[in-house]
Amino acid sequence: MAENSSELFDAGHRACGGCGPALAARLIMKGSGENTIVVASTGCMEVFSTPYPETAWKVPWIHSLFENAAAVASGIEASLKRQGRDEHVICICGDGATFDIGMLCISGAFERGHNITYICYDNEAYMNTGIQRSGATPYDADTTTSPAGKCSTGNARPKKDLPAILVAHGSPYVATASIAYPNDLVKKVERAVNTEGPCYIQVHTPCCTGWGFDGADTMALGRLAVETGLWVNYEIVDGELEKAKKIVNRKPVEEYLKAQKRFRHLFRPGRNEEEIAKIQAIADRNAKKFGIDIALKK
């Protein structure tokens, strides 16, 4: 079956059923095409897609370490340039690799202006090592290193604004996307790989195992994140906001929170009004900042 498939990220991987990142990989490859070299970092996707001697990748793929994908990609890009080759070089890395341990290499690669596209599949925690928090973990999420408890409501800090940091590096194209909007993601990847210079895309990829929901609901959950304003799909071109996905009658965050075990503590034993209000405020701030609200009378 795989032999006849046109997928560049193909059958044979071992992700959980309904894995957001696995779907992201397929869509990313549709956008980038076969003339692509993929650089990965250690994490769920690396492990589920390349258990030696098998691989799900039909494009050249390399994994070196948890934190150095951007530097490895820099070397690959330099190497291709020297040899007069023109493959797209893209990194596909988890949020831990991107927000935390890989920051140094990413900052260096973006400052040097390598012609690479760095794509973070953001499942909002370290899933491969058993659901620990990262700098991308949202406020109040329960993870194994930010557990909700008697004196804790879960992760104490909001998500780091990494896109803004990379805009500040002078990146010509910074975008966010969601697997729940597949065509949008594919188009953004296409645009990024055809933009000269270091581009960044952060893809929201719900993880059924880490967040605690049924794998059949991955798309629905991705959509809810966008519809509540907790995730905004936007494009920043040469430092200017070009486009953000508008939302008609934005939904309350509660709908999104209630659907996941990682926020269960906000509803049990009683509703934690104060914390839910704080999360609603995050969504409201997002909506205002990116101007996404369209209110229609019901």
Binding site: E34, N35, T36, I37, V39, E46, V47, T50, P51, Y52, P53, T55, W57, K58, V59, P60, W61, I62, H63, S64, L65, E67, N68, A70, A71, V72, A73, S74, G75, I76, E77, A78, S79, L80, K81, R82, Q83, E87, L104, C105, S107, G108, A109, E111, R112
Partner: protein, 384 residues
């Protein structure tokens, strides 16, 4: 052509002649002059290479990993703290069988912070799967780059390699060096032909994860490649000797060793001092010799055993220490001489740039003849 050059510049010149396609490096004393010289060669279009000005040593070697995996000849240089920052990438590059060549301007490891020479840095990475060659002087260190690229890139080997020389003692010293021409080096060192590389027309996956069912075989293969590197090195060095007349074919090299009672063993620039000291001791009637170790990885145990078989005492000068045990070279030599009954005494010398002179070598020989060894030589006891 003979030129008087600074050690670092000789290395940069030799590297240029090797035609690296991608250089990825970060400055650190005493390696700095090498990467500066290469940067200006690129800036002046004397060297047609991509020079990636990375933000750390960690990225320097990671960049080499990417460049080498994509099929380019790749170079870096570092020392001490820089090498320590590369630790993780060093194992990774070897496991992925990428023939990156990196010059190590040997320097002590902190703390306390020291910019001066000993060999603790590269020795501490002895198990990473990199070939490790040590040079005695500037001619040797420049020549070793040509040979090392040939060995590392040989398809029977495919391993990364350190070319080590002592920081300041050699990096910042001027010596006359015979630098080959580009045409001569081109005739000796063929263009890099990767065994396999990242290429969209022929996709492969590299650096996958391996379960316990497979991991050991990868380590075994790296070890076999190391073992094969012994012969490949000799071949490459012999071809070099045939073409250039300078002979580095021995993984070890003896100096007045044939009839020596006390044999000293050392690596790097200290060998020059030891040879002079030996000449003086010989003039006084002492039967002393030196075994210089050029290849530390792979370790030439057979050659060491053969070269030292006639000695009654072996005294190893170690510019490093495996704390809680002995110096690393002494441990290897002991292992090589196991069962021979020849006593091997270890002397930890010249750590952190402490001077070591001919008279110290003579004292060490006296100590060894009395059977006193396995000690830090030249310790200041008043600060202990």
């Amino acid at each position: 052509m003979m030129k008087i050059v600074e050690g670092s510049h000789a290395v940069a010149e030799a590297v240029k002649l090797c035609r690296p396609q991608v250089i990825s490096a970060y400055p650190i004393t005493p390696q700095t002059h090498i990467v500066e010289a290469l940067a200006s060669m690129v800036a002046d279009c004397e060297l047609d290479a991509e020079y990636i000005c990375v933000e750390s040593e960690f990225s320097a070697l990671s960049g080499c990993v990417g460049a080498s995996a994509a099929g380019s000849r790749t170079y870096s240089a570092t020392t001490s703290q820089g090498l320590a920052l590369m630790f993780e990438v060093c194992f990774n590059a070897a496991g992925m069988r990428l023939p990156i060549v990196m010059t190590i301007a040997n320097r002590a490891m902190g703390a306390p912070l020291s910019i001066w020479n000993d060999q603790q840095d590269s020795i501490s990475l002895r198990d990473a799967g990199w070939l490790q060659y040590y040079a005695e002087d500037i001619q040797e260190v420049s020549d070793l780059h040509f040979i090392t690229y040939r060995v590392a890139e040989d398809h029977r080997v495919l391993l990364p390699a350190f070319v080590c020389f002592d920081g300041f003692i050699l990096t910042h010293t001027y010596e006359p060096v015979d630098m080959p021409t580009q045409a001569e080096v081109d005739a000796y060192l063929p263009a890099f032909k990767p065994y396999q590389h990242l290429d969209a027309k022929n996709p492969i996956s590299m650096g996958m994860y391996a379960t316990p069912d497979y991991y050991m075989e990868f380590r075994y293969e790296v070890d076999r490649a190391m073992q094969r590197a012994r012969d490949v090195y000799v071949e490459a060095a012999r071809a070099f000797a045939d073409q250039f007349g300078r002979d580095y074919t021995g993984a070890v090299e003896g100096y007045r060793l044939e009839d020596a009672d006390t044999a000293l063993v050392a690596m790097g620039s200290i060998c020059g001092t030891v040879k002079d000291a030996i000449d003086e001791m010989r003039a006084d009637g002492k039967r002393v010799g030196l075994l210089k170790i050029r290849s530390f990885r792979p370790f030439p145990a057979e050659e060491v055993a053969a070269a030292l078989k006639g000695a009654s005492t072996v005294a190893v000068l170690d510019k490093n220490i495996s704390l809680g045990q002995k110096g690393a070279v002494a441990l290897e030599v002991k292992d090589a001489l196991y069962g021979s009954g020849i006593p091997v005494l270890d002397y930890i010398v010249a750590l952190g740039g402490r001077d070591i002179r001919k008279r110290d070598i003579a004292k060490i020989v006296d100590l060894a003849e009395k059977g006193t060894g396995d000690m830090f030589y030249g310790l200041r006891t008043e600060v202990l």
